[in-house]
């Protein structure tokens, strides 16, 4: 005798447990769940909150427009206290704020910053303003400024002026280094005794290195044009003095200082205004660079092979 429950009884005799009915319900539940998930997946239009949070006047694609901003904007546009504005005025302001927000979001969507130099510049300026806010608000004390002045004294001395000749012994196969030094020394002695630079050079076979202009030059210009070793020697010479022979880059040099006006040192009191400006500028540069450093540490920057 067949003991199995007839097919129709699965659904009527609910008091009894039957595996076939359980499996059927399980399969239906699974199919329904998958169906809902698939619908959600293929028709998703972004997460949406039901209703506007109470502190906001509108939500545009999830971005808030704060009531407080709206009230302030309405007052600015109508030049009236908010309570005295009409519903039409408020609606107009709200519409403008919504329009602006939509345009901003569109700008982000099409990534305007990637192509528009003005947007890029505005974003850079905005980030820097945020970073610099603390430094701009800072008022350095006189002690801080004086410490800065002492650490950067060279910035606050007036530039000196020098008329300097950088002469070299023309190197050739017949002149040994010793002979070159001897010629340079003889020329230097002659210059010290009052012979003109041109005569002392011509008599001993020396010629200008071509690094310096003839005539007056600021110290900083000489510093740029000469090697550090030669500039160190030149900066110690007074007018009418000549250096001893100097070997620099395998060539024998001798320096004649024809005229010299020493750099004028400024006191802290004289330089205070410039110190204040420089201090602020340095602080600003420091925080901007620290900020960039931090942002770079978080960024994934990959370079083309030739710049690695």
């Amino acid at each position: 005798m067949d003991q199995r429950t007839p097919k129709a009884d699965f659904w009527t005799r609910m008091a009894e447990v039957h595996p076939r009915r359980s499996l059927t319900l399980f399969a239906c539940g699974t199919a329904l769940g998958l169906g809902i998930a698939a619908y959600g997946l293929f028709t998703a239009a972004g997460t949406r909150i039901a209703g506007v949070p109470p502190e906001d006047i509108a939500l545009i694609n999830g971005r808030h427009i704060l009531r407080s901003d709206f009230v302030a904007q309405t007052q600015v546009e109508t030049a009236m206290p908010y309570d005295q504005t009409t519903k039409e005025q408020r609606l107009k302001v709200l519409q403008e704020m919504i329009d602006e927000e939509i345009m901003v979001q569109r700008g982000l969507e099409v990534d305007l910053a990637a192509s528009d130099p003005d947007v890029r510049a505005a974003e850079v300026a905005g980030v820097q303003l945020e970073v610099d806010a603390d430094v701009l608000a800072q008022q350095p004390s006189d002690q801080q400024l004086e410490a800065y002045f002492n650490a950067h004294r060279d910035k606050y001395s007036g530039e000196g002026i020098m008329t300097l000749r950088d002469l070299i012994v023309q190197p050739d196969e017949t002149t040994t280094p010793e002979q070159a030094r001897a010629k340079a020394k003889t020329a230097a002695d002659a210059f010290r005794k009052g012979t003109s630079g041109d005569d002392a050079a011509a008599t001993n076979g020396l010629k200008d290195s071509g690094k310096l202009d003839r005539g007056d030059m600021f110290d900083f210009a000489v510093r740029i044009k000469l090697s550090p070793q030669l500039y160190a020697v030149a900066s110690k010479l007074a007018a009418g003095q000549a250096s001893d022979p100097v070997e620099d880059g395998g060539i024998t040099h001798v320096l004649f200082m024809e005229k010299r006006q020493q750099a004028a040192e400024r006191t802290f009191a004289d330089a205070r205004d410039a110190v204040f400006q420089d201090y602020k500028k340095d602080e600003q540069a420091r925080v901007e660079s620290a900020n960039l450093q931090y942002l770079k540490s978080k960024a994934d920057i990959q370079l083309a092979p030739e710049f690695r």
Binding site: P54, L66, D69, L136, D273
Partner: protein
């Protein structure tokens, strides 16, 4: 009931205990739900009501005050002090008086300052201008600055050299262009955050040295923006709290909202 009557004595006692426990739990739950709903509704009203009406609302004001007090202590007291009196050493303003650098000291005004700060590096900050470095920029000589300070002393009914004060007055109204921000009568313009020079409430104190430094090097104070860091309800509650404590003090002439005539401004 019949079952109960026939149940053993200990079981009946246990059942009564259970009934009592369930009743207490229901009461606690009910009260919690009421308190939560009440708090939720108050919070909702706090952010939706026009800011300037909150101090007059007998239900909302105490709620905002208690919320604002703790939020102020946690976020603002480190600069402004627990007593809100600020510091002339660091140039942090006293919030317990009724003198405001910006706007008129209404809840909505204070709220804007708490939201977006002052020169906080945010576009909506109060950032129209700042005190220029008049001495450092050689607009005035040190002697001229001292004359202006003498004039400021006379504005505050303090002792000063009359000749220097007269010269200072001329500089204030002409060469120094001080009137442009502080107004001709020196009562300040709160749109710019330019303070009244008629009272003693000075950010960095009233000593000649402090005043000289302000004029010579300029000032550029800062208050952080709290938008995005605190909830809007908390920010509004702080504004209500700060506003409430300032109401007992007299207002500065520069802090009268449009249309509000006082003895000081009328005079």
């Amino acid at each position: 009931m019949d079952k109960m009557r026939h149940a053993p004595k200990s079981l009946r006692a246990r059942l009564r205990l259970w009934h009592a426990a369930v009743a207490i739990a229901a009461l606690v739950l009910g009260y919690s739900a009421y308190a939560w709903a009440d708090g939720y509704l108050l919070n909702r009203r706090l952010v939706m009501e026009p800011a300037d009406r909150i101090p007059m609302d007998t239900a909302l004001a105490p709620y905002a005050m208690s919320m604002g007090r703790s939020a102020f202590q946690a976020n603002c007291a480190s600069c402004h002090g627990a007593d809100m009196r600020g510091s002339t050493r660091t140039g942090v303003p006293n919030l317990s008086d009724n003198i405001w650098l910006y706007d008129f000291g209404r809840v909505s005004d204070i709220e804007r300052t708490v939201l977006y700060g002052i020169r906080a590096g945010v576009g909506k900050s109060h950032n129209v201008t700042d005190m220029p470095a008049i001495g450092r920029q050689n607009a005035l000589s040190p002697a001229e600055i001292k004359d202006v300070i003498a004039y400021m002393h006379t504005l505050r009914k303090q002792e000063a050299d009359p000749a220097a004060a007269e010269r200072g007055s001329a500089i204030f109204q002409d060469k120094g262009v001080c009137y442009d921000c502080h107004s001709r009568d020196a009562s300040g313009i709160s749109d710019y955050g330019a303070p009244s020079l008629l009272d003693d409430d000075t950010l960095f104190g009233n000593s000649d040295e402090a005043l000289y430094k302000s004029i010579y090097d300029g000032r550029h104070g800062k208050c952080p923006a709290w938008a995005g860091k605190l909830s809007f309800a908390t920010i509004r509650a702080i504004a209500v709290y700060v506003h409430s404590l300032s109401q007992e003090a007299p207002a500065s002439p520069s802090n009268q909202p449009p249309g509000a005539e006082t003895e000081q401004t009328a005079g």
